[in-house]
């Protein structure tokens, strides 16, 4: 299997700019205060279970899931709860945060802090799922979907292939690359745990060709470990390969239907960092309170670039300060990659489970060029990895035609930004599409809820 695979529709080739790839992961010193967000995952925000004045230990549960799709949140440090109040997140929106003043670094009981590799996988499936759930593991590839829900497909659907996403197709980001090199074996054990939880399906670790060292390390570690049915698949470098549906297409040659979940074609996709979190949750009973984050950018000298192991709740400004402050010439600070990341309008915001980078971009790299008229060249439609027609979606959005938008499948947009990247007229296509996608999704959800209510009323009769 030496051939390189990739997805079949659309895609672009942005310069990968992985400047910080050789910066080893450093452990950040602990700050005096952390702010733990209650909305760190997809779904309902967690409900706090501690009160102001409570003493908490690192790894202790401080908030419980408030719904089926929700997750536990644990204290990242030991200390005292100072307040539970709304605080601005990176977009300036108010979200409930628990403020903890740190005192020392004591961990809760039952958490294994040793670094020894535990390769023996618990046979009890439910035990593994409970540990993943109770330790608050969520998907760290961007969407932060609760992992235990994804690993427990609805009855009747069977997973045929577990794909571990090591594409890291976003330019600049190197956190997944670093853990692939430094925590190789742990990731493989994590993958093997998920494989056994899913009932022993095959497992493919997909890595893009621009990370040869990671591919080599993974293959060497696989040869040493006793697991079967896991292989490394080299992927061509192409954005957005790390998109769930794109990765399934690349690895399995199957396409997920509009509105369907990956499990409908027998696939489960998990991110590299999630595999590591699953390993720590199941083998070490360690809750998800740390993750790796890249501090990088085109206006930052290589010597000032870092890959940090951070505790959730550390303010971004604190990390920026430890890394040497905001560099001169930074016009925009982004959380996440330059393609899909969100501009940080509030640097005092706290890090969350899914934080993957602080990216400083220069004026030159971020400046939007003047917008001109659409000339119908169709480049956006060629670039769209979901096979949509962004130019059409934008026109329909401006006209407010919700039916037309739904018929044109705006709800399938993955917000990868390929359309905007490829547009020669510099039209902010995604800005418009993201807006109407939200509205159409709302209409679809409301319709589904109404249909469900009508059915329930019928059943009662």
């Amino acid at each position: 299997m030496s051939s390189k695979l990739t997805f079949r529709i659309g895609g672009i080739h942005p310069c990968d700019n992985k400047i910080s790839r050789d910066c080893a992961i450093e452990v950040l010193p602990l700050p005096e205060v952390v702010y733990v967000s209650m909305a760190q995952h997809l779904g309902a925000p967690a409900a706090p279970v501690v009160a102001v004045g409570d003493k908490v230990l690192a790894g202790q549960v401080i908030a419980e899931p408030a719904g089926f799709i929700s997750a536990f949140v644990h204290s990242p440090v030991s200390g005292t709860v100072k307040s539970i109040a709304p605080r601005a997140d990176i977009a300036g929106r108010m979200v409930n945060h628990i403020e903890i003043v740190r005192e020392g670094d004591e961990w809760a009981e039952g958490i294994d802090l040793s670094t020894d590799l535990v390769t023996e996988i618990p046979a009890d499936r439910q035990f593994c799922l409970d540990r993943i759930k109770n330790n608050g593991v969520v998907g760290l590839g961007g969407a932060t979907f609760p992992t235990h829900v994804k690993l427990n497909p609805a009855p009747g659907s069977k997973a045929e292939c577990l794909i571990i996403n090591g594409a890291e197709c976003e330019p600049y980001l190197t956190s997944d690359y670093r853990i692939m090199l430094e925590r190789t074996k742990e990731i493989i054990v994590g993958a093997a745990i998920m494989q056994s939880v899913l009932g022993g399906c095959r497992c493919v670790i997909g890595i893009e060709e621009n990370k040869p060292a990671a591919i080599k390390a993974m293959r060497a570690a696989l040869a040493e470990l006793p697991y079967e049915g896991i292989k490394v698949q080299v992927l061509k470098k192409r954005y957005p390969q790390g998109g769930e549906k794109q990765l399934i297409d690349a690895v399995m040659r199957r396409q997920v239907a509009s509105g369907a979940l990956p499990i409908s074609v027998g696939a489960v996709v998990q991110n590299m960092a999630t595999a590591l979190a699953v390993y720590e949750a199941v083998q070490k009973n360690r809750p998800l309170v740390t993750n790796v984050l890249t501090v990088t950018g085109d206006c930052l000298p290589v010597s000032a670039q870092h890959n940090y192991l951070f505790r959730i709740g550390m303010p971004l400004s604190y990390i920026a300060q430890v890394a040497g402050g905001v560099p001169e010439g930074a016009a925009k600070i982004i959380s996440g990659g330059p393609m899909m990341g969100k501009a940080i309008s509030n640097l005092d915001a706290a890090t969350v489970k899914g934080s993957s980078s602080i990216l400083y971009l220069s004026e030159e790299a971020t400046r939007r060029k003047p917008e001109s008229e659409c000339i119908r060249c169709g480049r956006c439609a060629d670039a769209c990895p979901m096979g949509l027609e962004p130019f059409l979606l934008r026109r329909l959005t401006e006209a407010g035609d919700m039916q037309g938008l739904e018929a044109a499948s705006v709800q399938d947009c993955i917000e990868c930004g390929c359309c905007l990247y490829s547009c020669p007229a510099n039209i902010p296509l995604l800005d418009h599409i993201r807006l109407s996608k939200g509205q159409v999704m709302g209409i679809i959800r409301a319709r589904a809820a109404a249909a469900k209510a009508a059915q329930a009323a019928n059943n009662q009769k």
Binding site: S345, T366, R368, D431
Partner: protein
């Protein structure tokens, strides 16, 4: 040769005759019976097709009004009392008296009062901006300044004040159709009673944050101090989530609250300028001119 021409003319004439008969018969047979009053009502409507009444256009309004036989759910804000009394006389019903309304922008976060803390570079649309983040100031409630309301207004009654960065309503053009209210993702614009001689007292702020935060974000913000509520003799002011609201049906325009407000969030609009009141009226006037 002449034969061909004669035949051609004869055949075409015969064809035209036959087809006109067919068309006549078809038109008779498939005639759509329509209440003639629909056309009459449509004729007296303003014809702007703005949708302010909640219907797709003036024709749809007329159809609905005639079908319902009353005007309970039909009111044309553009035409106002004039048009509605004409419609009522066509339908032979009574029309409920309705006070004329006007759009009011409830944000006074001028560039001066509400410093920008970041720069927005996305698409120039408030809806898009609101979907991305809380905005380029510390106030997540206030005007985003991209002018969605200006482009929504079909009567040219709105414009962006270049110095304030806020929309300005031209009251002589505003028909209270409500298009701007729907277009604002922050829900800042409200339709309020125009008031006697267009005089109104309005809380020009929608910030629901606690006083400290609101004040930090904008020096003109309502901080929910309740001073206005205490001074109001007519029970017109309610305070909910740190924000005062003046009920225009109860307000007697005494302007006590205007003088009492520590941040100047309450504005008296269109009051005659008296020497003693100059201080309060000034900020409003500059806002309007710009």
């Amino acid at each position: 040769m002449t034969n061909i021409i004669i035949w051609t003319i004869a055949i075409l004439a015969a064809l035209g005759l036959v087809l006109s008969v067919v068309l006549f018969l078809v038109a008779k047979k498939f005639k759509v019976e329509e209440d003639p009053r629909i056309d009459e009502v449509e004729a007296v409507m303003p014809g702007a097709n703005c949708g302010g009444c909640g219907f797709a256009g003036c024709r749809a309004f007329a159809e609905s009004a005639v079908k319902a036989g009353n005007l309970d759910n039909n009111y044309c804000p553009v035409g106002g009392a004039d048009v509605m009394s004409k419609v009522a006389s066509i339908l032979g019903v009574e029309v409920k008296a309705s006070a004329p309304k006007v759009a009011v922008v409830r944000c006074n976060g001028t560039c001066e009062a509400r410093p920008r803390v970041n720069e927005y570079g996305g698409a120039a649309s408030c809806k898009v901006k609101a979907s991305l983040y809380a905005g380029d100031t510390l106030c997540q409630w206030g005007c985003l300044g991209c002018g969605d309301c200006v482009s929504a207004c079909k009567f040219g009654a709105l414009s962006m004040g270049p110095a304030t960065g806020l929309p300005v309503v031209d009251e002589s053009k505003c028909t209270a159709c409500g298009a701007c209210v729907k277009s604002c993702p922050k829900g800042i614009i409200e339709l309020r009673n125009k008031g006697p001689r267009s005089m109104r007292v309005v809380v020009e702020c929608v910030n629901k944050d606690k006083g400290v935060l609101a004040r930090k974000a904008c020096s003109n913000a309502c901080i929910g101090c309740t001073k206005c509520q205490k001074v109001c003799a007519h029970d017109a002011i309610t305070i909910e989530s740190n924000l005062a609201y003046i009920d225009f049906t109860k307000c007697k325009l005494c302007k006590k609250c205007v003088a009492e407000c520590p941040t100047g969030a309450i504005h008296a609009i269109n009051f005659p300028v008296l020497p003693a009141k100059k201080v309060e009226d000034k900020p409003k006037e500059t806002g309007n001119e710009q």
